[in-house]
């Protein structure tokens, strides 16, 4: 049986492993580019792709909290309007040693869910749905808020933004290579090389996306473990997850791009997936998360 500390350490190791793997893939991509398009300067493609990707990601990074909150139709609340939730959040921040309390938002929706956004603890916000507040008891709300706060504390939003930049870069490069392979009659590269480049151009973006999803699932487990450590009450979060997973309501304002921010995948109901083990999911299967929490 793994202790909380073991789980947290293992998670951090996995994140590092995934990052290293990512860097290897990019290097491999760069090498292949260099090999195929030597006289074109494969490096310049990579730089352009990275700049493009970075600009869009950086804009997202700085504006995301406001944008996501606006899309979700979230209403900011203060301590007077929601004293119970605010005091729970305040106490959690005391436990985490965070001097600045994230802004609190409420979304009018019967589906129980919550998300955290913001690039660092001083520019962060947590949003909860009215469905969550009505259907969960104090202990469970505490668990959910602790999970979201842990995302902020672990700088997960920043990490995932970075990962998404990389995935975007790889996808753009893969796209460019794919088009070039089809439409160019390159005297520089032999037939085999061309085919190889083509396959690579298709597979790498898919691989990158899978890595992104693996990382996202990893950070979810980490947030669960951190939350349990913060509240010293894993059962609170476990029973909250149970209630959330059994709820049939759909979250109306959810978008696939921001799905990873939520405590539980808001899209899965739309696709009819049942939380089974799939490498395409942003969140780990709920049953697995509950099992890990209850074994702490």
């Amino acid at each position: 049986m793994k202790t909380i500390y073991d789980q947290i350490a293992e998670n951090k190791r996995k994140t590092l492993l995934i990052s290293v793997f990512f860097i290897l893939i990019i290097s491999l991509l760069g090498y292949v580019l260099g090999a195929i398009y030597t006289y074109d300067g494969g490096i310049s493609i990579m730089i352009v792709a990275m700049i493009f990707s970075s600009i869009s990601a950086l804009i997202t990074y700085f504006v995301s909290d406001k944008a996501v909150l606006a899309i979700s139709d979230a209403r900011k609340v203060n301590a007077k309007e929601s004293p119970l939730v605010y005091s729970i959040l305040e106490n959690l921040c005391i436990g985490a040693g965070l001097k600045e309390i994230p802004a609190l938002y409420v979304i009018n929706d019967s589906a129980p869910n919550a998300f955290a956004t913001g690039r660092d603890p001083s520019h962060s916000a947590i949003a909860v749905t009215t469905g969550l507040l009505n259907k969960l008891d104090k202990r469970e709300i505490e668990g959910v808020l602790a999970h979201e706060l842990s995302h902020i504390r672990n700088y997960d939003i920043r990490l995932m933004t970075f990962v998404i930049i990389l995935v975007g870069t790889i996808s753009i490069i893969g796209n460019i290579m794919f088009r070039r392979s089809i439409f160019r009659d390159d005297k520089n590269s032999g037939g085999m090389f061309l085919i190889f480049g083509l396959i690579f151009a298709i597979i790498t973006p898919i691989l990158a996306k899978l890595i992104q999803l693996a990382m996202s699932r990893n950070r979810e487990f980490l947030a669960d473990a951190s939350a349990a450590l913060l509240t010293r009450d894993p059962e609170g979060l476990a029973s909250a997850l149970e209630k959330i997973s059994m709820d049939q309501n759909e979250l109306h304002s959810a978008e696939p791009t921001t799905a990873y921010l939520y405590i539980e995948d808001p899209i899965k109901k739309k696709k009819g997936m049942f939380g089974g083990s799939s490498i395409w999911q942003t969140h780990p299967p709920i049953q697995e998360r509950i099992k890990r929490l209850r074994s702490m």
Binding site: S87, E90, N91, L92, I94, G95, A96, G97, L230, R232
Partner: protein
Amino acid sequence: MTTSLIVLGAIALLIGFIWITYNKLITLRMRVKEAWADIDVQLKKRYDLLPDLIETARKATAVDEDILTKVTKLRSSAMEDATKGKSVEERGKIENQISNAMRSIKIQVEAYPDIKSHGELNNLMEKVTDIEEKIAYARRFYNGNILSYNTQLSSFQLS
């Protein structure tokens, strides 16, 4: 020539390592102090809350007089210790006793027949619950920091 260079390099590395670890220990110790200060903030809020609570509970005869006198005494000792700058362990002992007394008070107030109608007492008990929770969370943060500090200290001593 090269051997002496290697030896110098090794010594430099060792010094660097000791310097970094030493600094890390200082940082962790500072964090422990700050975490205790955070607990202190909550404890002070409790000191402020207690007189009102004791008086209201006494008037409503909702709680046994001996507990109320005990809490009053503990409170003054605790505040005295705070100004004297007593150690964390000593202050911790008294504060734990206060927390235990708060628990007994809470049980008695909840058993009190007319509690729902006594708005003021109700209000104060809610504040008490909140403050106890805040103290608990502050303690958790403190313990986490102590753990980091002690872990670093023991591994440093071993090496």
